[in-house]
Amino acid sequence: MPPKPKKFICSFCRNDVQHIDYKNSKLLSDFITYYRSIQSRFHTGVCLKHQKQLASAIKKARNMALLAAVRYEKK
């Protein structure tokens, strides 16, 4: 029998994060794509509980112009 692969743990669970702050725009920017849409947890490996918190935090940050909702070309 081959050895069982190690179970992947969500990066927020590993650091024991209870609440994701919407003002921490540097952290949120790691979880959005090149075109500024929310990255799916298939690609980031975040658990469902934290993905829901992340999504709401990103939406709040967009409302306060901390993050962009679409990518703008620099002129």
Partner: protein, 179 residues
């Protein structure tokens, strides 16, 4: 039952930085206190660029505060701030009980810089590990010896020309053969 809230407000950029800070204390903090709230945390971020233009403006002053207030008073505060033209936007959120201590923007930026430094150090370490020689290369002497052996095998003693001529002559002279 009082509830803990957090407000993040954007103040219009036509004011000075000092005037904007003064405006925040006068029109945001003071109004919370008038409603019977208790302000526990204040942080004036200063000027900051928007991710997109709002009312043809590219930057504004951010102000963050945490306060305890009765839930029925929140609607009145929202109504007043909505009518205020110097406040571009604001967002009121509930602070959950398990939330950590609020950080000022300066502390947050210092933390980001420290994280970036750590990442750079890690990248450099990985690069150096890749470029450095892993193990001393095995000595090539045995291979060379093998090649030499092969060359010796190939160099067989070739029959000389004189010997060949003699043999040919013998065959030609032989009368038993009908050529």
């Amino acid at each position: 039952m009082t509830q803990k809230y957090e407000i993040l407000a954007i103040i219009v950029n036509s004011l000075d930085e000092k005037a904007a800070a003064k405006y925040a204390t006068e029109h945001i903090v003071k109004k919370i206190k008038d409603e019977g709230g208790n302000v526990t945390f204040e942080d004036f971020w200063g000027e900051r660029g928007f991710a997109y233009t709002i009312n043809k403006q590219k930057w504004g002053y951010y102000f963050c505060a945490q306060f305890e207030c009765e839930p029925q008073n929140i609607d009145g505060l929202k109504h007043e701030w909505n009518l205020d033209n110097t406040i571009v936007r604001f967002l009121i959120t509930k602070v959950p009980k398990n939330a950590p201590k609020p950080q000022t923007q300066e502390e947050m930026e210092a933390q980001w810089a420290a994280e970036e430094k750590e990442q750079k150090i890690k990248e450099v370490a990985t690069k150096t590990a890749k470029s450095a020689p892993k193990k001393p290369a095995p000595e090539k002497t045995p291979k060379v010896e093998e090649k030499e052996e092969k060359s010796t095998k190939e160099e067989k003693p070739k029959p000389k020309k004189d010997v060949i001529d003699k043999k040919l002559d013998e065959i030609l002279e032989d009368s038993s053969l009908d050529l």
